[in-house]
């Protein structure tokens, strides 16, 4: 591994001061499962690594029926996968977390790391966006809140400044009669990057959110598909129309994992499947 300076700040203030001092040449370390690979493969420059694991209060994972879910910056994918209240109220997030890498990776990888890495195919992003998640960001100017849906700017790009940290993600509690699904499509069952990932959060006769992963530079809401369904009682015909609309809204590229054409087809098929499953869960 290329040499770097290493710090273990004890407070958020110290951490962002370090990030500010190195002006983009410092990288925060939480799980390390992406960062250390990128340093080893020289994909990311890190003159300085700032380990945020010694900062108190960042490992919190809590659910409250009114405040919703709070995921601290150090919460791992494995914790999300196994948490009883996530399995109950945020099942699509648990399904996505379970699809991320191996158990060994999930024991280290953090959800917020997955968010900040901003891969177009990241599994946990579609369900978080579909559930209306908000990121709490700490920087030299204090704290700000950002709707996760607007956080992603392109592959590997977010609205986070180099001297800011995402400290927590807050996800609203699900309304009654809500069904949630994440479907990952890949070439094999495990250790796979999504070819297409679809998240649906559906509240009966009310709201629906459909988020498409791996088919645009960032995860995207299928807004026209949602509009076809909002406030309606869903039936097969309506679901097929929405699935076709989602296909038209996707903007996939062709790469080593699949052609754009195949991805578009799969957006339609999987959006339909996810809507049917979410409808069953909500009923």
């Amino acid at each position: 591994m290329r040499r770097f300076e290493y710090f273990e700040p004890g407070t958020l203030g110290e951490a962002v001061a370090l990030l500010a001092r190195y002006q983009g040449r410092a990288q925060p370390l939480a799980g390390g499962t992406d960062l250390l690979v990128e340093i080893k493969e020289q994909l990311r420059r890190a003159d300085c690594v700032v380990n945020i694991k010694k900062i108190p209060g960042m490992a919190q994972l809590a659910y409250d029926a009114r405040a919703g879910l709070r995921i601290g910056a150090l919460v791992t994918a494995r914790e999300i996968e196994l948490s009883q209240f996530i399995l109950k109220h945020y099942i699509s997030l648990a399904q996505a977390a379970r699809e991320l890498g191996s158990i060994q990776v999930r024991n280290r990888a953090t959800i917020i790391g997955n968010v900040c890495r901003a891969s177009p195919s990241a599994d946990t992003l579609p369900p978080l966006i579909a559930d209306g998640a908000v990121a709490k960001i700490y920087g030299p100017g204090g704290e700000r809140m950002v709707l996760l849906e607007g956080f992603f700017k392109g592959p590997g790009k977010t609205s986070l400044e180099p001297d800011e940290l995402v400290t927590e993600i807050v996800v609203p509690p699900p309304p009654p009669r809500t069904g949630k699904v994440y479907i990952k499509h890949g070439r094999r069952k495990a250790m796979e990057l999504a070819t297409v990932g679809i998240a649906v959060s559906l509240t009966l006769d009310s709201d629906v959110r459909i988020v498409l992963g791996a088919v645009a530079p960032t995860p995207i809401r299928a807004r026209r598909a949602e509009a076809l369904l909002r406030g309606k009682t869903l039936n097969d015909d309506l679901i097929e129309k929405a699935a076709k609309a989602a296909e038209d809204e996707s903007r996939p590229v062709s790469n080593v994992r699949a052609s754009a054409e195949y991805r578009r087809d799969m957006v339609r098929v999987l959006t339909s499947r996810a809507l049917h499953q979410a409808l069953d869960l909500a009923t």
Partner: protein
């Protein structure tokens, strides 16, 4: 510049001098002299470097050595109950042909150990899910799964 870390490896308290940019895998192999843990891909894809860190299986190539300060680590060298006896998983891998070239075997056995600690009597599907991050190019996995199932039975028999 190296710094001292204090940790427990296979039940033994150790002090090691490590540079911050060295992986735990390299620290185990080159500083602690424990070469049973293998370096396959070095980027978290193959699982050959799996060790148990504070009761959880991890890829030691994706952990910095300095992060292990104060931690408890179990490697393949720490699995034998005594120098004369193998762990039931090790016995079972030999008996069922779960090891061929042997390079994936230490990581595979450490992952299997972590799996059986959590699920004492796993189904085939649970085993396949559990070892999804451990790649074996020789066996085709069938014998590895047989070996883990047989070891689970042996361990449960000994515990009952």
């Amino acid at each position: 510049m190296s710094q001292s870390i204090f940790l427990t490896i296979n039940g033994e308290a150790r002090e090691l001098a490590v540079e911050p940019y060295r992986s735990l895998l390299d620290v185990l192999r080159y500083e602690a002299g424990l070469t049973g843990t293998k370096k396959g891909c070095d980027v978290g894809d193959c699982g050959a470097c799996t060790v148990i860190l504070d009761a959880r299986p991890v890829n030691s190539c994706l952990v910095l050595g300095v992060e292990a300060q104060g931690c408890e680590i179990v490697t393949i060298e720490g699995l034998q109950p005594s120098p004369e006896r193998l762990h039931p998983l090790q016995e079972s891998f030999i008996k069922h042909g779960g090891a061929q070239c042997g390079f994936c075997t230490p990581g595979m056995i450490m992952m299997a150990k972590a799996l059986l600690d959590e699920i004492p009597d796993p189904t085939e599907e649970q085993i396949r899910f559990g070892i999804a991050g451990n790649i074996c190019r020789c066996t085709g996995y069938t014998r590895i799964i047989d070996a883990i199932q047989a070891a689970a039975q042996e361990i449960n028999r000994n515990n009952s």
